[in-house]
């Protein structure tokens, strides 16, 4: 399950970075995001390969399959927006930093476990870990640069009102911490939900009990007569109906 989970995480990260590359108006950032995206696509392939190799092992659920569409249902990618659209560049960088550091921790953990037997696969994992370290450094550097640029702008403002600038600075630090915490929780929650099949089972059971209890009246309500006419109507009034 972990390999599948990692594959989804890396894939969603690749998609987010690709979208960022397409949406940013900064040439240097676009190139950086694009290369980052390529790394993440490669990592996805690596974990899919690990998952497929695991299918040779006994007692492994061979129904586990990577289906890219599931990144929506599992909460890795939001249906309504890409992160670069929603967050400012500075927030986006904090998000990447948190996620990269979490991924790094997880990958280091699985390296210690003995799931990966193939020497080439072990080498690939080593490469992924070093690339994740690089991404983390880049994300931190970008954020640092943005902070420096913000500092420069604030310096200009300092001439106008020192006190106002000071409070802005405080607020920024607070929001930085708040955002880091928010993204960290979101990251943990996402992995938890995607892994946890028990939550789904409980929800299913509750809904089922409810339906069974109401089955007779609901059945009556949903029983529709088949239209007897063979002629397909293209009337405006009928085409406005959902039924």
């Amino acid at each position: 399950m972990s390999f599948l989970d990692f594959a989804f995480a890396e894939f969603s990260s690749a998609i987010e970075m690709l979208q960022a590359a397409k949406l940013t108006d900064n040439k240097k950032l676009a190139l950086g995001f694009l290369n980052h995206s390529l790394d993440e696509f490669r990592h996805t392939d690596f974990f899919i390969k690990c998952l497929n190799n695991l299918k040779n092992v006994e007692n492994i659920d061979r129904n586990l399959k990577f289906d890219s569409k599931l990144v929506y249902n599992l909460g890795f990618i939001n249906k309504n927006y890409f992160l670069f659209n929603k967050y400012s560049l500075s927030q986006f960088c904090i998000f990447i930093m948190i996620n990269e550091s979490e991924a790094l921790k997880l990958f280091t953990k699985i390296k210690k476990m003995n799931f990966i037997q193939d020497i080439n696969d072990k080498k690939s994992l080593e490469n992924i870990i070093s690339e994740e370290k690089k991404h983390l450094a880049e994300a931190e550097e970008n954020n640092l640069l943005i902070d420096q640029y913000s500092e420069l702008l604030k310096d200009e403002q300092r001439h106008v009102t020192l006190s106002d600038n000071f409070s802005k600075k405080q607020n920024k630090l607070y929001s930085y911490k708040l955002l880091s915490l928010k993204f960290l929780i979101a990251n943990k929650f996402r992995h938890f939900v995607s892994k946890n099949i028990y939550i789904n089972s409980i929800i299913n059971l509750v809904i089922s009990l409810f339906i069974i209890f109401l089955s007779y009246p609901l059945k009556l309500a949903l029983r529709f007569k088949e239209p007897s006419k063979k002629y397909i109507s293209f009337s405006y009034s009928k085409s406005r109906l959902m039924l």
Binding site: K27, R62, N63, L222, S239
Partner: protein, 572 residues
């Protein structure tokens, strides 16, 4: 000026079609924007793209048409699963959990983008959308003999319907037959797809490819015990299926017991193993059973209506092998399957429905290639990713000489194609004569299973030299609608593009203005008359939509040549 928008969403491959004064201007898949294959969310990005490009607003939009009746669809499926609530509790809970994930909130979604009135939002029946999709390429049918149409729609399920048959005479659409869930040919085929370890809605092509290697050893058993067409009704014996009870598994324990535990079939990449042969026999048996039932349905419908001008639509019509079988039936005098018969293409049918409701006219002039329907990233970093191959303008001669040397060329030229097949504007090509190059392209570059064949593209004038073809279905070859049987010399000279069963899903080129036509004319002089044409995407990703996607795909596949709008480039 009034626009009509057709939308398909929430099941598989969301898409949007745009009509401008009754002319198809755009057809976009949401996956092109999200870069997530098979994206089935509301196509917000596609609509936003069109809104900006055409300045769409509530004032110039005549109607937004959803491709199905969401309440009908939900209630029919729920009613069925509530017949046996204990047995189908998993499906029941899924129906209620996902109640807001289908089209019930379509009104709200669309209003968030265009601020339309409720009177501008319409709903077409799912199978009617499919049926109308099949008739929108009339401009490609060069020898129309019969104006009456017999339209057969076959898919998994839509609005609770699984197979429906229509006649269309002078813009009057009549339904003569309908089958309901769970008796579905689409789900019958998806079950074996799931059993063989492939993703439902994606792996069906693989099962079709695999079937060529097998023998139909289980066919008579399947037709006696699992599916039949008795008394003019399709009947599935539900003891063999679980798709109506379990959203995660399509086949039942009984299925596993008879055909063997799935665990033994996990590795289908080794062609000469027992496991592979058993899987191929199962695939072949299901494929031939599907073909048999479809043939029987078609013959019955032709007899009943007296109309032999047959159109096919719905997801099952993607099965080009089955389509070839139907097209060759003696009773069928003319056969058509549209370029995009599946759910994404139904957006075009929905738009046609809207055009009829508002303007009393179906559309029949959809293009195969669209113009400039690609995305432009905010920043231009093209020159950082690619360099010109030569300062001198590249022509087909340069590219043909590279192809003869065994190079593989990626093409991003003009707008994208209408259907799921790359037809030369978003393609990867190489010579079909060079079997090592073809093998490399199939397995190493694209990472496809070795048993799946690649498709050939050929000039129309040369088709007869290599393949058996009939005029009654030839027009479908412009978009690889069905497979053809190859002649003996083809298997010798161009064995790399011929499947093990002697067939190929051929594309023919008629339009002399197409880049691929000009290229093949040059190659012909060097005795390379057939090219391999596969879609420009790496394994598991949607077809490329802009130059950044080209770069990502090429880098993943380690390809270096890109023909981009009239020039040849090298990837950096």
């Amino acid at each position: 000026m009034k626009y009509i928008i057709g939308i398909s969403a929430f099941y598989y491959e969301s898409s949007v079609a745009l009509l401008e004064d009754g002319v198809v201007k755009e057809f976009l898949k949401e996956e092109s924007f999200t870069r997530i294959k098979g994206t089935n969310t509301f196509p917000k990005l596609s609509l936003s793209f069109l809104k900006k490009k055409y300045s769409l607003s509530s004032k110039n939009i005549g109607a937004c048409v959803f491709y199905e009746k969401p309440l009908l669809s939900w209630s029919r499926m729920t009613y069925y699963s509530m017949q046996k609530p204990l047995l189908r509790w998993k499906i029941n809970s899924q129906q209620f959990k996902n109640i807001w994930k289908n089209g019930l909130l379509f009104d709200n979604h669309i209003k968030n983008i265009f601020n339309l009135n409720s009177s501008q939002v319409l709903f077409a029946n799912h199978h009617v959308s499919h049926a109308l999709t099949s008739t929108i390429y009339e401009n490609y049918f060069r020898n129309d003999l019969n104006k009456d149409k017999l339209i057969i729609v076959v898919d998994g399920v839509g609005d609770g319907e699984t197979l429906s048959i229509y006649t269309m005479t002078n813009d009057h659409l009549n339904r003569i037959y309908v089958d309901h869930y769970p008796h579905s040919l689409g789900l019958f085929y998806s079950t074996v797809t799931d059993y063989l370890g492939y993703n439902v809605n994606e792996g069906e092509f693989k099962v079709m490819g695999l079937s060529g290697y097998g023998r139909p050893v289980y066919k008579s058993f399947i037709l006696e015990n699992i599916i039949n067409w008795n008394n003019n009704k399709i009947q599935l014996n539900m003891e063999w299926f679980d798709f109506d009870k379990n959203p995660e598994k399509s086949y039942s324990e009984k299925f596993s017991k008879y055909f063997g535990q799935k665990d033994e079939l996990y590795n289908l990449n080794e062609i000469h193993t027992n496991s592979f042969h058993r899987a191929a026999n199962i695939a072949c048996s299901f494929q031939e059973s599907l073909e048999f039932i479809l043939s029987e349905v078609t013959k019955w419908a032709v007899d009943k209506t007296g109309i032999s001008n047959v159109y096919f639509s719905g997801g099952v019509s993607h099965n080009s092998k089955a389509m070839a079988k139907i097209a060759n039936l003696n009773k069928v005098k003319k056969f058509t399957v549209p370029p995009s018969p599946g759910d994404s293409g139904a957006a075009l049918g929905a738009a046609s429905f809207g055009n009829f409701v508002l303007n009393n006219k179906f559309i029949s002039n959809a293009p195969l290639y669209f113009t400039n329907n690609f995305f432009n990233p905010q920043t231009n970093i093209f020159s950082d990713l690619f360099e010109e191959f030569s300062k001198i303008t590249t022509n087909t001669l340069t590219i043909s000489s590279l192809i003869i040397k065994g190079e593989i060329i990626c093409i991003f030229n003009g707008g994208s194609e209408a259907g799921p097949r790359a037809l030369g504007n978003r393609s990867i090509i190489c010579s079909a004569k060079l079997s090592k190059t073809v093998q490399k392209l199939n397995s190493k570059v694209k990472g496809r299973e070795s048993f799946r064949p690649l498709s050939p593209v050929i000039l129309d004038k040369n088709l007869d030299k290599f393949f058996y073809v009939k005029s009654k279905f030839k027009h479908n070859l412009e978009w690889m609608g069905l497979t053809l049987k190859s002649k003996k010399n083809t298997s010798k000279e161009y064995s790399s593009c011929i499947h093990i069963d002697g067939t190929a899903r051929v594309q023919i080129l008629i339009n002399k203005e197409l880049f691929l036509y000009k290229l093949l004319e040059k190659l012909e002089k060097n005795d390379h008359q057939i090219l391999i044409n596969t879609s420009f995407n790496s394994s598991g990703e949607p077809i490329v939509f802009d130059y950044m996607d080209c770069y990502i795909s090429m880098k993943k596949m380690n390809l270096k040549y890109l023909y981009f709008d009239g020039k040849l480039y090298l990837r950096k």
